[in-house]
């Protein structure tokens, strides 16, 4: 079971992020929850890529065992794309505030009906 400690931590973080996205009403808090969710997925991938006794995947003298570089490249892409989508989401929230006057989900739904 100790071998899966990392995955347990990742699942707990993922669930906290999911809970924030579903249950909290404030739109900015939802975006924060989404970022939390994304980062927990990154931790999952990176802990899968780790090799015991290996080092960072930069070729150097006298080292033979490296961590797997493929997930590293994937997660690098994912981090930067995540910040780009968060920026677009935040600008959407600012526009919603200008249009509706508030950013609580319940109040927006009430003013729609």
């Amino acid at each position: 079971m100790m071998g899966h400690f990392n995955s347990a931590v990742v699942i707990i973080l993922m669930m906290v992020g999911l809970y924030i996205v579903i249950a909290q009403g404030n739109l900015i808090k939802k975006l924060v929850g989404l970022t939390l969710f994304q980062t927990s997925v990154f931790i999952f991938y990176i802990s899968m890529a780790n090799v015991e006794g290996g080092t960072a995947p930069i070729l150097a003298q006298g080292i033979t065992l490296y961590s797997n570089p493929l997930p590293h490249a994937l997660i690098l892409t994912a981090i930067v794309v995540g910040i780009a989508t968060t920026a677009v989401g935040l600008s959407l929230v600012v526009r919603i505030k200008a249009a509706y006057g508030c950013i609580e989900e319940d109040e927006i739904e009430a003013s729609e009906n």
Binding site: H4, S7, M15, Q24, A49, G54, P69, I75, I79
Partner: protein
């Protein structure tokens, strides 16, 4: 984990942003202990720095407090616990953490690790995978970042009236923030130099285009926050920044087209020079430059758009207060 639960319970959005930055920094140090140095670098620059900053600017325009939830979130808790249970059941079958003979390490990765030095000739394997073996995916990512920048412009484009009143407001700020202005002026060239170093050293150590672009944008954002938008736009005008963003994507694509014209496949750098390894070096250098340009320019676009909108709102509020007096 404690930081994540604290984010759930806190109502003050300002504190939530600080906790998010702390969470980013903690994940970055976690990545370092897991030997993922490139990823840790990017997460520290982006997660701990830029995302907290963007949230702060957004909060300054939308309000700090979060309202109390109206009904108890039982259904949400039920959904979450069920999903957690299923996920726990799912991972019980995966191989143990960090074993060297897990399936993930045995099929594609050894080929990259062993052949990277012979085929491409740069020590940083992550950069060689990102820039040469999987260059097409990185191209898609650069286009996504560019699209996000365009999306932010489309959503937040503010009309440029009220330019005279800005200058009067800035001169009074000079005396009040003397210490940090001086320190920023001293540190600014070093931060830019560090960004250039990270850009070109990405072949040999952790680094590369993304981190360099983010650091460059962070330096410009620091300058803009302290000295006002009008001084920053004298050097980095809106049209220049948008041009650089588009030019980065174009540079990346033109490398691919050049390899096509020279007889190879799309993004096959071997055709760019006399020897394949030299061709790979040239190809990686140019596309990292394109990536750095686009990332820096898009981050600057996003921050400038937010900042201009915030200043306009502040100006409108001040005018409203003055009229009501």
């Amino acid at each position: 984990m404690a930081v994540a639960i604290a984010i759930v319970r806190t109502r003050d959005l300002f504190a939530v942003t600080m906790l998010l930055s702390i969470y980013g920094l903690l994940s970055a140090s976690f990545f370092v202990t897991l030997d993922a140095v490139d990823v840790a670098f990017t997460e520290a620059a982006v997660g701990a720095g830029i995302s907290g900053l963007l949230m702060l600017v957004a909060i300054s325009m939308t309000g700090r407090k979060e309202a109390k939830p109206k009904r108890k979130p039982f259904i949400a808790l039920l959904v979450v616990s069920l999903t957690a249970g299923l996920l726990f059941y799912g991972i019980s079958d995966t191989p143990d953490f960090a074993l060297a003979d897990a399936p993930i390490h045995n099929h594609v990765a050894p080929r990259y690790i062993q052949d990277s030095m012979a085929e491409i000739g740069i020590p940083n394997i992550v950069t060689s995978v990102l820039a040469s073996y999987r260059a097409f995916d990185t191209f898609g990512e650069v286009v996504v970042i560019f699209t996000a920048g365009m999306g932010v412009i489309a959503l937040l484009s503010a009309s440029s009236e009220n330019t005279q009143s800005k200058k009067a407001a800035e001169n009074t700020l000079d005396q009040q923030h003397l210490v940090i202005r001086v320190v920023t002026k001293i540190l600014f060239p070093f931060i830019l130099l560090f960004a250039l170093y990270v850009q070109f050293h990405g072949d040999f150590g952790p680094g590369g285009g993304f981190q360099a672009g983010v650091i460059f944008a962070a330096a410009v954002i620091l300058y803009t926050m302290l000295f006002g938008l009008s001084k920053a736009t004298k050097v980095f005008s809106q049209s220049l920044v948008q041009f650089v963003a588009a030019a980065g994507v174009l540079l990346y694509a033109s490398v691919g087209i050049a390899t096509l014209l020279l007889g190879g496949r799309f993004f096959d750098y071997n055709a760019l020079a006399q020897t394949p390894v030299a061709g790979q070096h040239i190809g990686i250098l140019v596309i990292e430059l394109g990536v750095g340009c686009t990332v820096a320019a898009v981050m600057m676009i996003i921050f400038f758009s937010f900042h201009e909108l915030a200043e306009q709102e502040r100006q409108a509020n001040k005018d409203k207060n003055r009229e009501s007096l």
